[in-house]
Every structure is written in structure tokens, then in C-alpha cells.
């Protein structure tokens, strides 16, 4: 859910891509200067011109990473998966009947050991949270900080804890918050963002 989101694509900015490509091309150029065969130099310059005209767009790079992931060929995601697979899972559900989880247009977030929220963070990460329904949510807890004899456990959470978990979702949204109940959504927004 995290890597397919437009927020993830925003990480591939055209400026960063250009910068990276230009750096590689500059390195290539300095290698060409060492060649003394004019025919080879001409060919190498043609390659450079081609490379300059085909710098990929953020969409291409993002989709390419999803595609490589699908064909099990994405080293970065493999390392993330290998990490998360070892986390302890807690399934949260509300103690009170009237409490519900909200979600957003960018579901799921990370909390680090300083209790700060991030869209995604796998360094010093305490846990990752994602609601899966109005009444259920998953927590992926880093075993370095959360010892448990059970790899999967179930936990009832009170109204204040639900509010805190929902607060994390709300601040990590892109723009929209979603909820199954209009009153709950109104009350939540008024409580979290009273001046807006």
C-alpha cells in the first residue's frame, strides 16, 4: 500500500533524476576525454546525446520499481520486506462499540523511537500502523523495541488510544480523510484541527 501511493512517486522528482543522470553523463564524458580515437569519441558522443534525450520521468521510474518488485527484482523493497517480515504484529480493535478507525488517501504510517510520525521510515522505527477496516487495524512492531512471545497478538484499545492512532493517520494524509460515520468524522476533525 505504501509504495504504490502518489506520495511515493513524489520522491522521484525530475530535478533529482536529472541531477543523477547529468552526474553519470559527466563521469562518462571525463572517460571519453581519455580516448584518443576520433571515431570512438564521435560514437561515444552520440551515446551521450541519446542518454540526454531519454532521461526518464518520475512516473517511469516509479512504475519501473513496482514492476521490478512484481518480478522479484527490486533490491530495496526486498530488504524492506525482509525487515518487516520479522516484526511482531498486533491487531487492534476498539474496546468501545462506538469507536472506529479512520483512513486516508495515503493509508499507513511509521512511528520512530522518538515517537515522531513519518509516511515511511525504516530506520529507528518503533512501529508501523495501518487500519484495515473501521473496526480493525494492524501494527507492525520492530522486535528491537517490542518484545513479544507471540508473533501475532490481539489488543483492544480504548477511546483515547483510538484517537491517537487516528491522529497519526490524519497527519500523514495527503489531502483526504475517510470514515464510515459522518458525525465521528466531524467530531474528529473539530478535535484535531479546532481552528480550521
Amino acid at each position: 500500500m505504501k509504495s504504490r501511493n502518489p506520495r511515493f512517486r513524489k520522491g522521484y522528482t525530475q530535478e533529482k533524476i536529472n541531477e543523477q543522470y547529468i552526474k553519470s553523463i559527466d563521469e562518462f564524458n571525463s572517460e571519453i576525454e581519455k580516448i584518443d580515437n576520433p571515431q570512438l569519441i564521435r560514437r561515444a558522443k552520440l551515446v551521450i546525446n541519446y542518454l540526454l534525450s531519454s532521461i526518464p520521468k518520475p512516473k517511469e521510474l516509479h512504475n519501473n520499481s513496482i514492476l521490478r518488485l512484481h518480478s522479484n527484482d527490486n533490491v530495496v523493497f526486498k530488504s524492506v520486506l525482509n525487515r518487516v517480515v520479522n516484526y511482531n504484529i498486533v491487531i487492534y480493535s476498539p474496546k468501545e462499540k462506538e469507536d472506529i478507525f479512520i483512513t486516508t488517501d495515503a493509508p499507513g504510517y511509521s512511528v520512530d523511537k522518538n515517537k515522531a510520525f513519518f509516511d515511511t521510515k525504516y530506520i529507528d522505527d518503533l512501529y508501523h500502523f495501518i487500519p484495515i477496516s473501521s473496526k480493525l487495524a494492524l501494527g507492525f512492531h520492530n522486535p528491537e523495541f517490542y518484545e513479544s512471545t507471540n508473533r501475532i497478538s490481539y489488543q483492544k484499545v480504548n477511546s483515547e488510544e483510538i484517537f491517537q492512532l487516528n491522529y497519526g493517520s490524519a497527519v500523514n494524509r495527503t489531502a483526504n480523510i475517510y470514515c464510515s460515520n459522518e458525525n465521528t468524522l466531524n467530531e474528529f476533525i473539530n478535535k484535531v484541527f479546532p481552528e480550521k
Binding site: 500500500m1 505504501k2 509504495s3 504504490r4 501511493n5 502518489p6 517511469e60 512504475n63 519501473n64 513496482i66 514492476l67 518488485l69 512484481h70 523493497f77 524492506v80 520486506l81 518487516v84 517480515v85 516484526y87 504484529i89 491487531i91 480493535s93 478507525f101 479512520i102 483512513t103 488517501d105 495515503a106 493509508p107 499507513g108 508501523h128 495501518i130 487500519p131 484495515i132 477496516s133 473501521s134 473496526k135 480493525l136 494492524l138 507492525f140 508473533r151 501475532i152 490481539y154 494524509r173 489531502a175 483526504n176 480523510i177 475517510y178 470514515c179 464510515s180 460515520n181 459522518e182 468524522l185 466531524n186 476533525i189 484541527f193 480550521k196
Partner: protein, 113 residues
């Protein structure tokens, strides 16, 4: 060169959003924050088909698809396997406290990918 009719591709799966919808419907209450006005919109009901999508968001560039001999919509059709039954299954199993350790790799994939 492949041509394909433009399609709304959801970056938050409909099968996920369904579990936050008003009971027995595919409608959900939504509120949006407007940076310009520094205000939240009044919550409104939307069908889950009409939120969290962009046209052709995951389609490959046709030159790249042709080069690799892939359909341009290969990601939308095949990459997000968990949309089909998995989300439904884990919600049901979590509700009944029946999730097993064998499901952890798929849960990790669902969250991070």
C-alpha cells in the same frame, strides 16, 4: 505500439476502502483539507469508485512495454495481487482472531508494497 482506453486506476484499492464504507454500501464519508483556504470541507458521501484514483496511473510507457514485450497495463492487472481476495480474507481472519504466522510475509508485502 499498444493503444488502450484510458482507465481510472486506484492507488488506494477499492477492496480496501470498502471496509471503511457506510454499512452495506460502497459509499464513504470524506473530508478534504484545502491548503489555500486553510479549511476542511464539510464531510460528504462518495462512492468508493470515485475517490483515490488517477487516469492510467500505473500504465507503462508504450515504448518500454513494447521493448520488454509486456502489456502496458501489466502493473494494474498483475502487481497488486492482494486486492483480489487477500484484503477481504485478512479482515475476516483478524476479526475472528484467526490470523496465522504463515500469513506474516503477505501482510508485510500488503503494507509495504
Amino acid at each position: 505500439m499498444q493503444y488502450i482506453k484510458m482507465e481510472n486506476q486506484h492507488y488506494v484499492p477499492k477492496s480496501y476502502l470498502k471496509h471503511f464504507s457506510v454499512s452495506d454500501s460502497e459509499e464513504i464519508f470524506a473530508t478534504q483539507f484545502f491548503e489555500a483556504g486553510n479549511k476542511w470541507s464539510q464531510p460528504k458521501k462518495y462512492h468508493i469508485n470515485s475517490i483515490c484514483f488517477h487516469g492510467d496511473f500505473y500504465n507503462l510507457d508504450s515504448r518500454i512495454a513494447d521493448y520488454h514485450k509486456l502489456n502496458i497495463d501489466v502493473i494494474e492487472r498483475n502487481a497488486f495481487w492482494y486486492e483480489k481476495h487477500f484484503i477481504e480474507d485478512i479482515v475476516e481472519k483478524a476479526d475472528k482472531q484467526l490470523l496465522s504466522v504463515q500469513e506474516i510475509p503477505d501482510l508485510a508485502f500488503f503494507y509495504s508494497v
